[in-house]
Symmetry: C2
Subunit: 232 residues, 2 copies
């Protein structure tokens, strides 16, 4: 079973953070099973980006599973009746409208099912609590609670060595993440962070996520390879 120990499931969104996580997992010697979700997100170009990131990042497999999260409604990222705000607009609360209810819980649950089946013990997620935009399911206490749950919920958790939920970016600034990834050879031109990208994958440059990303490259003193839309 020694071979199995080196397998990991890596949640891959097509964004900057999860591309970095894939590089970190590969750097630790894991065979990486990348997992992405088509969940009715508006920014579907993410999935194309995820495919390219998985290939470039040396994942040995990349699955895209369709989840009906968008059918539940309630988020600006999946519900077209809610506008995605620009960073300059006040959000009116600590948790923004781009929050997708229970998203990371659902994603980690699916990753857990896959991990148990393929014999992986490590599940990597690009959650980040520093530049986290107020999402409750990106905090360290959420990650710990999910790990605890995983080891009560599964055959492996009860009979085996158990699962580890790995969130290596959780305490990093965006600049730290970019420096780390650049050091591991991540090609960030393949990644998409924008909440409102054009159909050919160009970033708007003005949404919350774009601003965080641009500032991260600036702070890391690394040139920003992002393709931006022309803005007025």
């Amino acid at each position: 079973m020694a071979d199995d120990i080196t397998k990991a499931v890596v949640l891959l969104s097509g964004g900057l953070d999860s591309a970095t996580v894939l590089a970190i997992a590969r750097g630790e010697g894991f065979q990486c099973y990348a997992l992405s979700f088509d969940y009715g997100q508006r920014h579907r170009v993410e999935l194309t980006a995820a495919k390219h990131v998985a290939e470039a990042g040396g994942a040995i497999e990349h699955r895209i599973l369709t989840l009906p999260i968008g059918e539940l409604g309630g988020s600006a990222l999946t519900d077209t009746s809610i506008d995605v705000p620009d960073a300059s607009e006040p959000s009116g609360g600590d948790i923004p409208v781009t929050y997708v209810p229970a998203r990371n819980t659902i994603f980690l649950s699916m990753a857990l099912g896959l991990a148990e089946i393929i014999g992986a013990r490590d599940i990597f997620i690009g959650a980040n609590a520093v530049d986290y935009s107020g999402y409750p399911d990106c905090r360290p206490e959420f990650i710990s609670a999910f790990e605890r749950l995983a080891n009560l919920a599964t055959r492996e958790g009860i009979e085996g060595d158990g699962f580890r939920i790995r969130a290596p970016l959780i305490e990093m600034s965006k600049a730290d993440i970019i420096r780390t990834g650049a050091g591991l050879g991540v090609d960030y031109s393949l990644t998409v962070s924008c909440y409102k990208p054009s159909s050919d994958g160009k970033a708007c440059g003005i949404c919350d996520s774009c601003r965080l990303r641009a500032r991260g490259f600036e702070m890391a003193n690394i040139s920003d390879p992002t393709a931006y839309q022309k803005t007025a």
Copy 2:
């Protein structure tokens, strides 16, 4: 917001247990949003049963969401390359091959997303730790851990009163469940428990789940309304 407090999400499989749970939730005065999943289960007649149970049980809504759990593989309930054993066959371990990895974690995650969106605080699940066939995600400690996770994972958990994961059957015997449901008027002829039902919904009478069910009616001293296949 007082009206919202009376909403509940009820996970409905089409089986005996969740039909009873729906009746219990209705008996407590909840407006019930029933939620079922099409996850590639072999026993798809469950979904037809769930529809009938939701209607008869007074759910104000019934959603069936498609989940790609079967694509993960690994269980006799979703993977046609694994045989569903009869109750008489030794399972070779404490956890049977009918175990679907992370199933209740995934189901509860989706229920949590729905609950947050519709403003429900109570999520009902028919998990049972007595006649539970060895599934790790049917134990009280799993339910508690999920409730804790839910209240760390969500806006409502952090900013509001939080969620309750309700598993009212968890300590009941099958006979207790049947007595409770019969007292609340549940029509058990609508429910399907069998792991290997015929295409018209008749039970095999010999799988683990059929045996547990038949014994339950016997112990409850209530006549068994189940339609069984003719067996040799």
